[in-house]
Symmetry: C2
Amino acid sequence: MIKYPIKKLKLEKETNYSNLGMTLENDIDLTNNYYLTHKKAVIHKKPTPVQIVNVNYPARNKAKITEAYYKTPSTTDYNGIYKGRYIDFDAKETSSKTSFPLSNIHDHQIEHLRNVQLHGGIAFLIIHWKYFNKYYLLPLEVILSYWDNKKDGRKSIPYIDFINHAYEIKISYHPRLDYLTVLDEYYL
Amino acid sequence: MIKYPIKKLKLEKETNYSNLGMTLENDIDLTNNYYLTHKKAVIHKKPTPVQIVNVNYPARNKAKITEAYYKTPSTTDYNGIYKGRYIDFDAKETSSKTSFPLSNIHDHQIEHLRNVQLHGGIAFLIIHWKYFNKYYLLPLEVILSYWDNKKDGRKSIPYIDFINHAYEIKISYHPRLDYLTVLDEYYL
């Protein structure tokens, strides 16, 4: 019988010291936690969807999942409420110096964000350009202007369009990535 | 070495044929799916949160989770948007004939629903009384009137208060549990 190597899952992505040692997901979690404790907004990350196949009960009240698989999420990762408005977004990172590849976004995520906007919610992406260490709030409209012309045109959004059509989120200590201030300025 | 019995997790709860063979969770999922496809609302169940400890890669592109544990959810199970409003709720079942025990609700869920309401969202529970096969939308206010007096009073909400202060959700074929009609009538 062949023994396959067992890899331990890294629960955190690679540490980036230029960024106070945190990952994008951690930065957003810290920010959302700040918003929650300061009664500014209620925005949470959804758990990663997992298909559970087998569970052991080695001790009373202690269920151990022994077989499970990752499932494709049907929505984005983050949603919640701010000033009475429904907020919905996903967070993405790119190492590119020139353009953000649309292949980073899944069909079902675009479909979900379109539906959110249709019902009056605020839909966007937060994108971290690792090379520039810049964070942008990219409105759904900008994404769609590329997405809906994907077949006959570019398959990525150039960095220059972020400068012109997206909103920079300044990184700071507390809250880490104050994206609600951007919403205040441009949406509300 | 003692071998503990391996139990296979039941992915669906006990089938209730009086209720078209579906569970409360399935009924709500079907309802939300109906709302989504009919462009009425975007409301999803959040995945069950799981702490992943070990992952195997028996084949390329196929990650198998081999050790994981259930985590306590920090919010309710359902949220989304309807007519521009943020919606947030949890679903509970009781076999009681007389009263709904407050022990079915967790502190952090009440805290979360309070926060949602504070920011302008609509917060409630959907409760299935299995004995009567009745479904009620129970507004947060009613829950809080019991919850906040828990120490010196009742630890459950009597069925009569559901008749008087909650809103019945009629079961039907499609959508299964039309709770948005109840929101239309009493909230919007």
